[in-house]
Structure formats: C-alpha cells, structure tokens
Amino acid sequence: MVGVTVDLVTCDELSFPQVAAMIRTLGVERVFDGDRVAVVADHETPARDLVSAEHMKATRVFASEFEIGHLLDAGEAGIVHVVVPERGLVSPGEIMAGYDSHVLTAGALGAFAVGIGATDTAVAMAFGELWLRVPESVRIVVDGEPRPWTTPKDVGLQIVARLGQAGCLYQAIEYDGAYPASLAMDGRFTLVNMSIEIGAKSAAIEPDAIALDYLQGRGARISEPVWADAGASYAATHVFDVEGLAPMIALPSAPDSGVPVSEVAGKHVDQVFLGTCTNGRLTDLRVAAAVLRGRRVHPGTRLVIIPGSPEVFRLALAEGLVQIFADAGAVIGPPGCGPCAGLHMGVLAGGEVGLSTSSRNFPGRMGSPESLLYLAGPAVAAATAVAGEIAGPEEVVGTRPPKEIAVSVRGRVE
C-alpha cells in the first residue's frame, strides 16, 4: 500500500451529491486545488427529472462554495472520460482518480488513471491524497493488420472475449505492439476504455508524439512522462495477432462473448445506439457517417446518436456529419452518456433488442431487464441501422471504407 498525491480527481453529476455530503463532514472550506477537481454532468444531463434537476442545482451551489475549478454543465457537459482529456486536464505520467469504473480511459495518454469509491473521492477532493494497493503489471501486445473496416472497438472486443471478465483482475495493463502505436488518440481511448471489462485496475499506452500532439493547445501541464523501463518485469504477457480480424460483436448479456459479426448476421435489432465513453468520439462518428452517407435507417429500426462531448459535436457539425446523420433519419441527442446505463434518452423497452457501441451489456443495462443488448463498433452499428438487422459494413457498403471520408478507421489521415 502506498499513499499518493493526485493530479486530478473527477466525479460525474449523478454520484456527486453523495460525495459532496462527505466533503462537508471533512471540515474543509474548499477543495485541495480547484484546478485539479472536475465534476462533469454526463449521466442525466440536461436534467431528466425533478430529482436530477435539484441535485444539479445543489451541485452548482456546492461547486462555487468549495471553489471547484471545473464544473462542466449545460453547454460544457459531456462524458467525463471524453471531456477530461479534451480539456487537457490530465497529462502523461500524472495520477488521476475518479468515482467511476471507466476513469482508466485517460491511461491512453500515459496517465495512471483509476476508479475509486465515494469516500475516496471525497477525501481526494478535500486533501489531494489517495491510498493505493500497488498493482501487478501485465502486457498486452497487439500486432497485425486487421480488415479495412475493423475498428479499435472490434480489436477490444476480441481481447475481452479471449481474456474473459476476470482476465486481468486488479492488474495494471500496458498496451504494446504495432497496432496500438498505429492508432490516433480516439482509437487508443477506445482500446484502453474497454480494459475495465477484463477487470483491470488501470491501463495505459506509452505516451508518444501522437499523445503529445493531441495535448498541444489544450492547456495541459506537460511534464516528463514516466514509463516502464525497458526490461521491466510483468506478471503476464498476452499476445494478440489481429491480422485479418473481421468486425466483431458481443452477444447478450456479457462483454466477453464477442464473435465475428457474420455469426449472428440477420438478427433483427429495434434500436442502435452510437455514442458512449467507448465510441462517442469524432473518429467513431466519421466511421458511422461513411456508412450512413446517402443511406437511410431501416424503417423497422431506430438509430440514436449521441456525441461524447461538445467538442465532438461541434467538429461533427463542421464536417457535415450531423447533416449526414439527420438525412439518414437518426435521432441526435445532446452530449452525455445517453441511454448507456439505462438512465436517459433512449432506453430499451421489455422484449426489445438493442445494439450499442458501449463497453458493457449486462442484463438490463440499457433499460428493461427483459431487453437484450449486443455490443459492436461504429461501423457495425451504422450498418445494422441501415439493414434493420445485424450486418457488417462490408455487406452494406463494400470491403473498403469510401475514400472521401479521408480517414482510416484508425483515425489518421492516410
């Protein structure tokens, strides 16, 4: 066990009232450093009912009283795990902790980012300190060239399927190999985000020029990144060859049940949801737009698209993606988690079948306990919306993404 000083503490608006009450009992007048505390509205924003409206009102008052530097609400609201890196709130080598399991997403920038409990969050916000049990490190090495439409999400589903839900319990993962290094930040966030589904405490990719370029102009405190020494020892090394990997889909109701899409093609889907901290970034929307351009959502299926953040929304608007989605007949929601946790804007009714680009599909996750949920990446999600049944982009569009979208599924201009 070690005690550490945290560089950033985060919380979402849904959990914050519980944390705020504890901070009050700690007898502090303000948080330890306003600039290093972020409370981000994402789960039920804009307020979904009277309870969440009252909570958010109390949170605004608390944030100004305790001098929280980053209360991101209304036009600044978005999924905390998307917004934190965009705003340069965390940098390579820093320690970040927050009250949510997907906090580890920021590890894609080479930060040590961990999910913690409510009391931890209150104490960390008040004093800037946290206790940690030092985790074992494991390496996941990913090499090979998947099929043209195969996205980082598909690679992630393959990793989760092979290692299983407790495959890396309590361990710190380092992603290595040519595949992660070839991804732009959007894809790296997707890959690292999914590590929680194999039980990891944290996950990271070595910060390189791509990570540092991403942070340029975002006001980040760039220091000297720390990284594992060459020859560091690992509890295990898992090697994945993704050469020729086809798009994947996880079956209801476990994230580690991934199979190639072709195995379940043709099954009816009532609603497709594109968004979340796993796949709600610009690259994901571009890939979906490449499928949806000039096509219509099938009349028997609904398509809900929710950008992960205001920045993603603005860029998607400027690039014409939002127009493509609207023309295709999609519903476009304001930035946030949307129906991902079964709370807001587009939950599933009993007996319905959904397909989501999120990372978890436990029973009842996106609505009724009697609903079923598949997980896939943005290309499969968009193709399924067009077909009205589970389908891969190769069947709907052709073997290659159209050239005019000017980016590969890895998020980099070719």
Binding site: M1, V2, G3, V4, Q18, M22, T25, L26, G27, Y99, D100, S101, G115, I116, G117, A118, T119, D120, A122, V123, A126, F127, E129, L130, W131, R133, V134, E136, A166, L169, Y170, G199, K201
Partner: protein, 175 residues
C-alpha cells in the same frame, strides 16, 4: 482487535447487486440498509444472521458496481469483519474506507464451514477455527490501512490527521 463469532458462508462471485440490490441504494438509515444485506442472494438472509457473525465469502467478493452502500449494508447487518478468498477491487477499498476490517485468505475461505466458531485477530491477521481446530495466517493490513479500519474509516482517519499528510508510505511498499 480480537473478534469472536460464528461463520456465515456464502459462495463465489457474489456481486454488489446481490449484497445490496440497486432498489435500496437511496436508503440512508443504517439499520434499514442492514436489513436488506445480501437480500439479492437470499431474500431471508437477514433472518439467518445475528450481530457479531463473521461473513466468509468465496472468490471475487463484491464484484460489479462501485456502490459504497454495499459494504455499509454488511456492516449495518452486524458483521464486524469480512473474510474472503479474494475481493473485487473497488469493493475492497470501500470496506477499508468505511472501517470494515477485511481478511484475504483463499485457504481460510476453503477450510472454514458454515456455523464454525471463529476467533480473528484483525491486527495480526491470524484466524482460528475453534470448531475444527484449523488456523490460518493472513497478512495483516499494513500501516495506515490498519489505522483507517481501526479508526472506523477514512473520514475519521482523515479528520484525525489535522493537516498532516494523510498516508505515510515509507517502508510500506508491499506490492
């Protein structure tokens, strides 16, 4: 701290959903939380236990959502300590942070039967099964983590530090 109590055994992978079903998350009264402890595993669970019993769980205890009400419900149900073959990560933290002693031992979880009388020293980590005579050693909680549980949780612990660094780490890098 020396604790004596009867073992109440439960199985592997018991989730926070089973420890405290989501519909009770808004309860704030400790006693009420305690009445619903482990209701998701057995609706009659609270009638099977008495205060002072020691919960003995299998592997990956407390998996699932990070709700802190789950360990709170167990403490309110009267368990003075929890022993498990292994714990899910955030649940393990949450137990310590609310001052509920945790002992981590696959051997003890295996070797203890339901209803056995146990004697546990939460300071040294020693466990004695008085019914079958078996004893088990677990590693004691190091330094400040022991103080956190002894003081009743992270909040009273933090208040007691009055301005000093919260966690002294020298010589405690146990991996």
């Amino acid at each position: 701290m020396i604790l004596g109590g009867r073992a109440v055994k439960i199985g592997d992978h018991v989730s926070t959903d089973q420890i405290l079903p989501g519909r009770y998350m808004s309860l704030t009264d400790a006693e009420e939380l305690g009445r619903h402890a482990l209701e998701g595993l057995d609706p009659e669970f609270s009638s099977r236990i008495s205060p002072g019993d020691i919960l003995v769980a299998g592997v990956n205890f407390g998996t699932g959502s990070s709700r802190e009400q789950a360990p709170q419900a167990l403490r309110a149900a009267g368990f003075p300590a929890i022993l498990a073959a292994s714990f899910a990560r955030i649940f393990f933290r949450n137990c310590i942070n609310i001052g509920l002693p945790v002992l981590w031992s696959p051997q003890a979880s295996e070797g203890i039967s339901d209803g056995d009388l146990l004697k546990i020293d939460t300071t040294t980590g020693a466990i004695l099964d008085e019914t079958n005579g078996a004893s088990f050693d677990t590693s004691p909680m190091p330094g400040f983590v022991a103080s956190i549980t002894e003081m009743g949780g992270l909040i009273p612990y933090a208040l007691s530090r009055s301005g000093k660094r919260l966690f002294e780490t020298e010589g405690e890098r146990t991996g």
